[in-house]
């Protein structure tokens, strides 16, 4: 049930771009992205619903391909504050009951 993320870890220099992928073996209703700083609770970034939409949030955007059951998170011109572990989360239905987080991607931005 747990979505698989790739890569597991990435190190970037400030200003570089990164892509984090999330794949599920099950049909999805929605995909969510969260960022977790070390020792803290995850913080919501964005949600993408069925329909192949793409969303953006400052310099972080994401896409959702429901046919392929995949989502990608795009971080452009990365900043030091982007460091953390990124998780995708998936819902199988719109009732919001069964929510599964992905395996996580550790992102480190260095000066």
């Amino acid at each position: 049930q747990q979505p698989v993320q790739s890569p597991q870890a990435v190190i970037l220099r400030e200003g570089e771009d990164a892509v984090i992928n999330c794949s599920s073996s099950k049909a999805l209703y929605s995909v969510h992205w969260y960022r977790q700083k070390h020792g803290e609770a995850p913080v919501f970034l964005m949600i993408l619903l069925k329909g192949g939409e793409q969303k953006g949030h400052d310099k972080i955007s994401a896409s959702f391909n429901e046919k392929k059951q995949q989502s990608s998170l795009y971080l452009t011109a990365s900043q030091l504050s982007y460091s953390g572990t990124y998780f995708c989360g998936t819902l199988k239905s719109n009732t919001g009951n069964q929510f599964y987080f992905g395996t996580g991607t550790s992102l480190t931005v260095i000066p």
């Binding site: 969510h32 609770a41 995850p42 919001g96 009951n97 987080f101």
Partner: protein, 112 residues
């Protein structure tokens, strides 16, 4: 505004001792409630979720249990802790048909 409280923040317990972690939500009614566990350096594992009072669904068979005695109260328990129960426990809530999950500050449990 909606808030979620979790306590205690940290806990050190010996193997075989009982456990009770509590989570309460304010500012919303009939939330979906979740318990997650995160082992060191690992992802978030869904343990239990609840869509209403007394309604608990378990995702992983283990020595933990959950209860929801009130609409906005969610309790995680164990009769006898194992070393493998160590981890960061997070409670979260979501409004039905609203997909964002709001997380509590977490409880760091160390079983010795």
């Amino acid at each position: 505004s909606q808030t979620i409280h979790q306590w205690p923040a940290t806990l050190v317990q010996p193997v075989g001792s009982p456990l009770s972690l509590e989570c309460t939500v304010e500012g919303t009614s009939n939330p979906n409630l979740y318990w997650y566990r995160q082992a060191a350096g690992r992802g978030l594992q869904l343990l239990f979720y609840s869509v209403g009072i007394g309604q608990i669904s378990s995702e992983v068979p283990q020595n933990l249990s959950a209860s929801r005695p009130q609409d906005r109260q969610f309790i995680l328990s164990s009769k006898k802790l194992l070393l493998s129960d160590s981890g960061f426990y997070l409670c979260a809530f979501g409004r039905p048909f609203d997909y964002e999950q709001y997380f509590g500050p977490g409880t760091r449990l160390t079983v010795t």
